[in-house]
Amino acid sequence: MPYLSPEERADNVRLSCCIRVRSDMELRIPEEILSLREYQTRVERVRDLTYDVREFRLVLVDPHEIPFRAGQYVNFVIPPYGDSPEPVYRAYSMSSPPGAKAALEFLIRRVPQGIATTFLFDHLREGDPLRINGPYGEFTLRPTDADVVMIAGSTGIAPIKSILDDMAQANSPRKVTLFFGVLELRDLFYRDVLLDIQKKLPNLTFIPALSRKAPQDNWDGETGLITDVLSRQVPGPSSAEAYLCGSPGMIDASIRVLHEKGITDDRIFFDKFA
């Protein structure tokens, strides 16, 4: 089966152009697909959060609003530029809540030699137009009363922040523990933003974690691999739901720990940065 990752094949994903229909088949078309469309936006603000992470704020121009669910993403249409002769499409999750339909915020990390992020970091300026399309994705908070464990690696915090903002606006009483893992203290962004959300969500516990602590870092918080932090902090057996966003490696390793804590696959949801 070409063009599918081992994980997709294991999940029984198949390309519709590569299968033959041999009997009656039921198709489920998510309703949101019918509302997918392209949007014209304007870059309102670009803000450096770390040496390689930027916050982009896009104002919706046409249409002037985009309905979406917290945790979803859109595709940026990166126009031809420099050595990139064709438009390319890249997915970025909204970090702003759905209530703010007229403007969207994104947290984007520069990818070495990346076609999209080189454009976004080196060419796109405030006031420039940018096309996006969407929204897409099913990485959204399930409407249950279960406690929630959230695990974000670097810019994986984007959809999770959107979900938390949405929960705060709805005065959600759900108990949430947020683990935010970055490499070093200089990579820890949005700490004040997340502490502010913690004030609005009294049942939110925010646990930032550094993979390593430099000698000059003034840090007495959690340190080490995120899996070690999870092992220490997540009690088991747990009936919680878990939401993860970050690199595939981080997610796979974290899921193994969650399994050890009794959190089964039907209660684990992730956006694997892929």
């Binding site: 070409p2 063009y3 990752s5 420099g82 050595d83 990139s84 002769p85 064709e86 890249r90 997915a91 990390r109 990818v111 070495p112 030699q113 990346g114 076609i115 080189t118 690696g153 670097s154 490499l183 993979s211 390593r212 691999l225 995120i226 970050g246 690199s247 595939p248 490696g249 981080m250 390793a253 940065f273 892929a274």
Partner: protein, 150 residues
């Protein structure tokens, strides 16, 4: 000798902006088949094989990915993976997809470093391609042997 149609198509896909921003050929003016032949000869001269080099790189790639951003150490080597969202395809038209990102290895005894991508490990193993001279992730065979202590 005229390049095959296959290599001509591969070379087109290796140009900047097709699969990656800077492409895979750097500022190498040689045709692709010359690049392949030259590196193949270098590997033989060094008493190595593409498979052996790919195997060692794959080992360190696996080690680095297990740290998901945290440097991992094994003997005299430290490796770290910098993963990015998405997959990238091989310019050789292979059907697999490869994780985006790069692996950085430091030989702690000498301070020498190597940087490569998961895709490059595949291209070395399956096609004997180390990228063109001047390419961002080019692995020079002599340097690989020295840094990896093969």
């Amino acid at each position: 000798m005229e390049p095959s149609d296959f290599l001509r198509d591969v070379e087109k896909r290796m140009k900047p902006g097709v699969i990656s921003l800077r492409g895979f050929l750097g500022d190498d003016a040689r045709p692709l088949e010359e690049i392949l032949a030259a590196d193949d000869a270098a590997i033989r001269r060094l008493g190595l094989t593409h498979e052996r080099i790919a195997e060692r790189l794959a080992h360190f790639t696996h080690l680095a990915l297990a740290g998901y951003g945290t440097p991992m150490r094994e003997a005299d080597f430290e490796v770290v993976a910098d993963e990015a969202r998405g997959y990238v395809r091989s310019p050789f038209g292979d059907l697999q997809r490869f994780r985006k990102g790069e692996i950085r290895l430091t030989n702690l005894a000498t301070g020498d470093t190597l940087t490569w991508t998961p895709l490059l490990v595949h291209m070395i193993r399956n096609h004997g391609f180390y990228e063109g001279k001047g390419a961002v992730y080019r692995l020079d065979p002599d340097k690989v042997k020295r840094v990896l202590q093969l």
